[in-house]
Chain length 230, copies 2
DNA sequence: ATTTGCCGAATGCAGTGTATCGCAACCGTA
DNA sequence: TACGGTTGCGATACACTGCATTCGGCAAAT
């Protein structure tokens, strides 16, 4: 019984860690959306049985939490921003860009408290940029207001993007020419202002729309920051 | 063969319509969240087989669309508002209140274009309140910005509310005393500003927080509306 | 009275998240 | 060197999902 007769020892399972799991999950989500992420498929991509993951994760939601935090790493500004406004602006645009790269993130944005290390780092950077410019309550309100705008605006953008992709039409053409339902509804005359808006509206670039709304919100924040606390 | 010998005629299936289906689905969602809504359970609540629903709905997502639109009926203002600001404010608060009543709505807000009749009516009312106050682009930007803030803020509020409910602690106590992870993270000294904020922060009422941020955004809108178009 | 057509119900399928359990390999110890 | 304990992986199993398809039986039409 030489070595040659004996089979190779069974390959020990590839060591796993959360990093590899999250990476695999993000790949799947990038390719096929959140619904393409199943514990079985993630495990298969790592040559492991599905149950193996439960050593690193105790529920699927936790996997989503890890994924969200992982993407937050892409949002960290690489250089210290000039002023608070620049800081908030950069954070907003980086959030948007990260979500455009990982569109499934839109489904998770604002859905759960984000307490991962990367998310905390992002929050820290944001708070630091505003530190001392007003009383704490005002600062918190500012950050949360900008955050709320971002999640809402990004969600809407992705939602429209998906709708366009599904119908193969631009948003305007879609709700004007195609979408029979909308056309019929507008034709009823029950929504005159809306009908006029759809008819006269010019198609606006999504990024520009996001940026403009953001500047409005930043204007509002600026007004509250310069005013003395209270 | 008297009447008594013959069995009762088999009870014809209860007639169905979308209204009843949506109502049943909303009841389920109100009780157990979105995940408690399955086609089987909805059908069971209507004494029907699951496949019966596919005569009225061709996919589960469509059911969600119907549910969202149904709740939008609760958001319609009952009286014509005084000015545009009042209109936007009322719409925002009614959206929030409806979502607090139907918390599953937070999971859907902003997730898809809302094109149902009730949603269109809400949009129409909002646009009408702003009609003529500025050029169309500005008006659209205003509506979309306020909407974005609402969805984002409401989502965050519901997310926090669920987290508090899950841990049985208020948000502050939760991230300060309990949440071992957060505590440990803050203790690392990598997030000094955040740590200070958590330590010094006062707990703010969710509604007040929502209202304040909303007024900020409305201030920003006001600034753009009064300014001449362009 | 017979046929036709249609619609609701049952069945089936592929896939999900997760609990349970047996087995096999490792390690420290005798 | 032999052994027992522990650990952790994998297979199996379960309850459940959305949806496609098939089948049966009633209602209306001829």
């Amino acid at each position: 019984m030489t070595v040659w007769d004996r089979p190779e020892p069974p390959t020990r399972p590839v060591p796993l860690d959360r990093e590899r799991i999250v990476t695999a999950a993000i790949e799947l989500a990038d390719e096929g959306g959140l619904e393409a992420v199943s514990l079985r498929k993630v495990a298969a991509r790592l040559d492991a049985g599905p149950m193996r993951l439960y050593g690193y994760i105790s529920t699927k939601e936790e996997l989503f939490d890890l994924m969200v935090d992982e993407v937050h790493a892409e949002m960290l500004p690489e250089e210290r921003p000039g002023d608070w406004r620049e800081a908030l602006r950069v954070r907003a645009h980086r959030t948007r860009q990260a979500t455009l790269r990982h569109q499934w993130l839109a489904d998770l944005l604002g859905g759960r408290p984000t307490l991962g290390p990367n998310a905390l780092a992002v929050t820290e950077a944001t708070l630091a940029a505003l530190d001392g410019l007003a009383d704490l309550d005002t600062v918190m309100r500012a950050v949360e207001t900008v955050n709320a705008y971002c999640t809402g605006a990004i969600r809407r953008e992705i939602a429209n993007l998906r709708a366009e992709r599904a119908t193969g039409l631009s948003k305007r053409d879609w709700q004007r020419a195609s979408g029979p339902h909308v056309t019929r509804m507008l034709a009823t005359g029950r929504f005159p202002t809306l009908a006029k808006a759809v008819h006269d509206g010019t198609e606006v670039d999504a990024e520009e729309s996001f940026a403009t709304g953001l500047e409005w919100v930043l204007d509002a924040v600026a007004a509250k920051l310069t005013r003395p606390p209270g």
